[in-house]
Symmetry: C2
Subunit: 316 residues, 2 copies
């Protein structure tokens, strides 16, 4: 990366997001200097998106800037954390000012909305990939873990599952998804407000990035419990429900909704929370003694996910 | 990345480094949970190494594991920070157990030596590249910046410059560098103890990763000053000095030594510090009013770095 190239990049990325008194020194020295607020723990996450693996190389750069931040914000949401600081490691095949401007716009708009400051970064030449590392704040000793579920807990999910996977399938078949559906794939909304409201309420939480079966499976393993879900209760597009096509809502991935477990006595708090957040919250099943995730059809029979698409979810 | 591949990786990376009470939750949930000690600021840095750009794809994976951590530790050293937490974003073309074991060994040994815990990570499939993000601790309000230099300050460097660049040149010419010289390229030693000792002593500091001219140039810009260095005072291999070949010590890069400025009245503290740290510390020049870096030959004439190798250091 030459100095002039670095200048171009610095121009787009030096001032993204929201800068507070907690940022003593931002981009531009050997390190950023940050002051953690008193009485807060830090939640830290890192995610990499690679061209050709996680996105089409010709995707709209603004959507990509949004998505690579959203994916990591979703991890903060799953812990109930409030976003604080971001660092960005950007590997670029070339320096394309238009592309960078678009990427920075998408990243920056979401950063502002989420209240996070970009405080550090590195830019290198190579095959296009993006690593985003985020830190969030949590009141001392809090934080929603995967391991806290208890037998009898209700299993809940936010939003609607399978939308992103359907949009991806349509794109891969050369179709054009409806704009709203495409936005679910390309501009997911991390459920930060929900995560924060679940602190002290949910027993366990995870964000759904690899598909419900896989991610609920992680709650099961970490909590040493089983999960049973009612397929007819899955929140998904009516056309999928009508066809009883459960593969996308169960295994499609890229949903960036939250899956959490709730003590049964708190069930009555869900509708009000959903109304306040303007976000559907659905009860889809229950945690039980045992292991693994099982799915029941409307008639009570067990549903066997087809092997296709589930090869790598050995534990579901 | 399939579940079984992920298991392989988790086996190598879950327990690297030193785990203290400040790590509430390590690798394996949506986020790591960390508790910053009272009265400390955080120093944060991120660096990406890409195969073919920063290292040969067939480099010894143990050396690579060492180096990709060392490069970022060097940034913490430049701020005077004490290493605390690391996250690792690893993009792999394939899952090769031997390669991963070697990489984890190199990373893990240096992590233990430096007292840093690996608390988070992401593993993806794609062209080989490694992003390391580190956090270090600094007493509140401290931290060595590039911007603190004052006119009259002495310019100092640790160790010997140009070794890594010479080893690289030999490798590129098909020669085999002496093991000690090769280690300077492949297993640099971040100057953490020096950085910590410079807190409250040095006015400005940077680590030399892009070559002395470029990095000292950053201190000049950030401090709005000029720097003048005496080439005969540059610490470098006698064979380079004998040939008056300054291109490697001035611009070779990959040194991972510290360059710092010191008030002239503190000069007498250098020899004792060097002895305590068992690390050469050399005074190579002085900060002056003005801008840019200039170099003087033994006879007092100004030296003009050849364009070759300096194309991208526009400000030097």
């Amino acid at each position: 990366m030459t100095a002039s190239e670095f200048d171009i990049i610095a121009r787009y990325f030096s001032h993204l997001g929201v800068r507070g008194a907690d940022v003593l020194l931002g981009v531009g020295d050997d390190c950023a200097l940050l002051r953690p607020p008193l009485g807060m723990d830090l939640a830290l996450t890192v995610d990499t998106l690679v061209a050709g693996q996680h996105f089409f190389a010709d995707v709209d750069p603004e959507a990509l800037g949004h998505k690579c931040l959203a994916v990591s914000l979703s991890d903060l949401a799953a812990m109930g954390a409030t976003p604080a600081w971001a660092s960005l490691a950007l590997t670029l095949t070339e320096v394309d000012a238009d592309w960078l401007a678009g990427f920075a716009r998408g990243f920056g708009r979401l950063a502002e909305k989420a209240g996070i400051a970009l405080v550090g970064g590195d830019t290198t030449r190579g095959p296009l990939s993006i690593s985003v590392q985020l830190q969030g704040l949590l009141p001392t000793g809090q934080g929603l873990r995967r391991s806290g579920a208890q037998a009898g807990d209700l299993i809940c999910v936010s939003g609607q599952l399978g939308d992103a996977a359907l949009a991806l399938a349509q794109l891969q078949q050369g179709q054009t998804p409806e704009p709203e559906l495409r936005a679910r794939l390309e501009r997911p909304s991390p459920r930060l407000a929900l995560g924060q409201r679940l602190l002290g309420l949910a027993h366990a939480c995870i964000d759904i990035s690899d598909g419900l079966l896989a991610d609920l499976g992680h709650i099961c393993s970490a909590s040493a419990l089983a999960a049973e879900i009612q397929l007819t209760d899955l929140p998904c597009l009516p056309e999928l429900k009508a066809k009883a096509d459960w593969s996308l809502p169960l295994g499609g991935g890229d949903d960036y909704e939250l899956c959490f477990t709730l003590p049964a006595e708190s069930a009555d708090r869900l509708p009000r929370l959903a109304a306040e957040l303007d976000l559907p919250l659905s009860i889809i099943g229950r945690m039980l003694p045992g292991e693994g995730v099982s799915c029941r059809l409307a008639d009570g029979r067990l549903y066997q996910p087809s092997r296709k698409g589930f090869d790598h979810f050995a534990d579901s």
